[in-house]
Structure formats: structure tokens, C-alpha cells
Symmetry: C2
Subunit: 282 residues, 2 copies
């Protein structure tokens, strides 16, 4: 239980986190910090935050500072927060990449107060209106470089994620970024590219609209995701994302070759291999 | 209302169709025709069909014959059914490709009794166990080459699809196959290829299992789909599928180039373009 939690960024993740804190009675007060007036007003209106303050003041008043903004902005903001931090305060982030941010603050005198985390949950929507109740339940939260974090800070963040229903897992930042490229970042790229493919070639939008069945919807759903969030993720996780993307293009080329050559047996083999994903997702 | 409907194939589509007929009171009796004993038994057990008979006998007894089997098998089976057909009987199919089947029977003396249809609904599961109630409601059913179908046959099939809650749309078989490549076939290929990408490179299945968030699940869901159904679709719709697949690979290469060159502006443009899919899927 925290007296005051400050969320920096009042969007999908931080807004849903604030709702979960309130629902579980884990925070006396939630302060929001927002780059725009419109989001700040919306977050107040939706009851995600009790108050909106400038960053300096909001950090000063908080026991826990929760940063959930695009990953390129996370680095300077985290540095700024660490500069402001007093003993006993804790800062954590919810970013989808972890290596760049961990490196950037590795030698900061207050590094021990920072918990590098990535709660693996999200939707294709963004902004305060996208915040939902019971968002994180049943999902996994990755905590990175825990050996660089003070024990008390680590334990409190672990406890809050457990209290809102998450499983915890631990890894170094580089491993996190590799896995994230596979289980999240590539899905977004394929979905964006699929939307562009269809929008480019299928000029008759009416036909798409009428005919699009459930399969299409599920594969392009992520294409609605926000550029401000995803551009910095892809660029910050460049090497891993390129690795996976190259492999993905080469897998697509195998399908292409089979279809070109009418190679029924190999096409069947490719599909049956893909079916092994049944073991992993139910 | 039909006295007797025969479904050829007792799987996801025909089983769900049989359930819908029964629920709406549209068929007095449903006969199943199945290639395997196991599926026949299962379909009886699940109450999808009232009886299982050999094809000849099942066709003879039916007012409406509904073919829902892999699209390569549809052609000879439809020819066989048309050969057996008597005046007044109707045959329709639910296949995901329409040009090859329409061409194959174009000159059959009983062509007028065939309604070429594609109810745009499906899931990644197959077999009689995959059949679900209220499957087609709210989705679109495409009817092709209606000018080649006898008016009474067309009207009865239109009515049954309307009665189970589908919207109807009409197009020639070639247009259907082009649109289907965009709104359905390519989604399956990207999903299969994505599953293969992850399974190939991400050897730590535990990590995928733990970390896979909702986005991953939705983009690889279709990778569980059945090879026996999808291999013939891709091969029968070869030219359209290759067209879309080539475009898709070139769209992925644009993402690759942006990330390689750290081209933030163009990456943002690609994503914002993809966001236009919001207009089409809610």
C-alpha cells in the first residue's frame, strides 16, 4: 500500500495500472503527469487520477513513480526522476524495451531505486480512454536486472504486480528484448504490413468491409496501434527486430516458393509445422 | 424449410450449418456423408446429423445437398452430385475458392441446380467437434455466378442463409477469389509464417508460453488451422494469393528498410497508413 503513486503518462498502461491500484486499495492517492492538457483533463474526468501536477512536484509527493510513456521518452524522463529522487522513493517503468533504458541509468547514483519492469499486457488502443479495469490479471510481468535494484524497492514493486494478478518472471535486459521481439514486436510489424498490403491493393474498401471475416480482424487488429508508441520500440530494439523480421520474410518466401511450384507436400509440411503453435497458445 | 438436407463433410462449416438449420427449424432431417467412420460417429454423437449414409443414397434422399469439404475434393464431389441430381433438388457448396469449381461444372446439364456460395465465417478449428451454434450470424455470404443458377434454387439458398442471420452479396467467381485472397487467405499465410518464425528462432518455448501477450495470440491464432483445408485453397487461388503475398513481402521490406536506416519519419508514416484500417474494422 502506497500513500501516493505518481503516474507519468496517463494512457492505456498507466491508466489501467491506476485503476487496478484503486480497485485493490493499493494507493491512497494517484497523481498524473501528462504532456498534454487534453489527456490530463480526460484522466481526471475518468477518475484515473485524483490530481494532475507538473513532473517535479508530482515526483516529490510520491512513494512510487510509474513511468509509462514511449520508450524513447522514457530514458530522459527516468534520468530526470532519478535526479529528483529522495531515499525511500521508488521508480519503475512499464516500457516494452529494457536494454537501452537499463544501460542509460546503469551508473546513476540512485539506480537502486529503479525497478525495470515490463508488464506483458496491452491492447491496440491508446490514451486515457483506453484504460480498462482488470487489465493485467493472469499475464506475466518481466522484471529485469533485479540485482541492480535495492531489495526493498524490488519487493514493493513485485508485491504490487502480484496484488493486481500478475505472474512474475526475471531476466536480464538483453534477453527480455530478444523475447519481446518474438512474442510482441514482430506481431505488430506483420499486422501493420498486412493492413498496408490490403489497403494498397484492395481499393474497394467496401469489399473488405463486407467480406472481412474473423480471421482478418484478428490478424490486423494490432495495425490500429499507435505510431508514437511503436516507432521508438522498433528502433530501440533494432537488432532483435531485424533478426526476427528477416526470418519472417524468409518463412513467407517458403510459402511463396511452394505455391509457385505447386509443391503440395512441402506446403502441407510448412502448415503442419506451424500447427505446433497449438502446444503454446490454447 | 427442407424436408431433408444432406451435408457432405461433417466438419466445422457443415456441422455449424446443420446446427443452425436445426435451431431455426429449417430442416426436418439432416443426413451426413463422411469420408471417415470416426467423424461420422462423432457427428451423430454430437447431434449434428440424424443419420449417416453413403453419398449416393444421401443425395437421393435430400432436397438440399450442402458440400463443405476441402476445395480440391469439392470439384469431383460436386460433379458426382450433379450427375446424381433429379429435377427439384439443389446443391450448394461452402468453399473458400469459387473460380475453379464454377469453371469445372459450367457446362454440366444440371448446372442450374448448383448455387456457388461462400459463407464468410470460420475458426481455426476443424472437424465435427469444432461445430458451434450461431456461427454465421452477422457475417456475409457471397453468392457467385447467380445468373447460372435456376431462380428457385437460388432463392431457396438465399433464404436459408438469410434465416441463419447472414447478409448476402453477389459477385463473379473471379472477383470473389481476388477479394478472398486479401481478406482471408493472406491472413492465414502470415499467421502460419509467423508461427514458423517464432518456433524456428525462439527455441525456449517456455519463454514464448509465459510471455506471449494478447497481441501474439491474435496474430498467430490462425496458425492452428488445418493443412487439409488450406493447402488446396492456396493452390487453387494461386495467382491471387501470390499477388497479395508479393505485395505483403514488399510491405515488410519497407519496415525492414526503415528500421535498418533508423528512418523514424517513414516508419511513422507506414504505421499511420496502417492505422487507416480502423475505418474498416472496428
Amino acid at each position: 500500500m502506497f500513500n501516493t503513486v505518481t503516474i507519468i503518462g496517463v494512457g492505456l498502461i498507466s491508466g489501467s495500472f491506476a485503476l487496478a491500484l484503486k480497485q485493490q486499495g493499493l494507493a491512497g492517492r494517484v497523481i498524473g503527469v501528462s504532456r498534454t492538457q487534453a489527456s490530463a483533463r480526460k484522466a481526471l474526468e475518468l477518475g484515473l487520477v485524483d490530481e494532475v501536477l507538473p513532473l517535479d512536484e508530482a515526483v516529490k509527493q510520491a512513494d512510487l513513480i510509474y513511468i509509462a510513456i514511449p520508450v524513447d521518452a522514457t530514458i530522459p524522463v527516468l534520468q530526470q526522476v532519478l535526479d529528483l529522487l529522495q531515499e525511500g522513493q521508488i521508480v519503475t517503468d512499464a516500457g516494452s524495451t529494457k536494454e537501452a533504458v537499463c544501460s542509460a541509468v546503469a551508473h546513476h547514483p540512485m539506480r537502486g531505486r529503479y525497478v525495470a519492469a515490463h508488464p506483458m499486457w496491452g491492447t491496440e488502443y491508446s490514451g486515457p480512454e483506453a484504460a480498462v479495469k482488470d487489465a493485467f490479471r493472469g499475464r506475466t510481468c518481466v522484471i529485469c536486472e533485479k540485482e541492480s535494484t535495492d531489495t526493498d524497492a524490488l519487493q514493493q514493486v513485485e508485491q504490487v504486480y502480484r496484488d493486481i494478478g500478475m505472474h512474475l518472471t526475471y531476466m536480464d535486459a538483453a534477453s527480455h528484448d530478444t523475447h519481446a521481439a518474438y512474442v510482441s514486436h514482430i506481431s505488430h510489424i506483420t499486422s501493420f504490413a498486412l493492413a498496408n498490403t490490403v489497403l494498397e491493393k484492395e481499393r474497394e474498401e467496401d469489399a473488405i468491409f463486407q467480406l472481412a471475416a474473423g480471421g482478418f480482424e484478428s490478424t490486423v487488429r494490432l495495425a490500429k496501434s499507435n505510431a508514437a508508441m511503436w516507432v521508438p520500440i522498433f528502433l530501440q530494439n533494432r537488432d532483435n527486430v531485424l533478426d526476427v523480421l528477416n526470418e519472417h520474410i524468409s518463412q513467407l518466401r517458403k510459402f511463396k516458393a511452394c505455391i509457385e511450384k505447386d509443391n503440395k507436400e512441402y506446403l502441407q509440411e510448412l502448415i503442419e509445422n506451424a500447427n505446433r503453435i497449438r502446444r503454446i497458445i490454447q
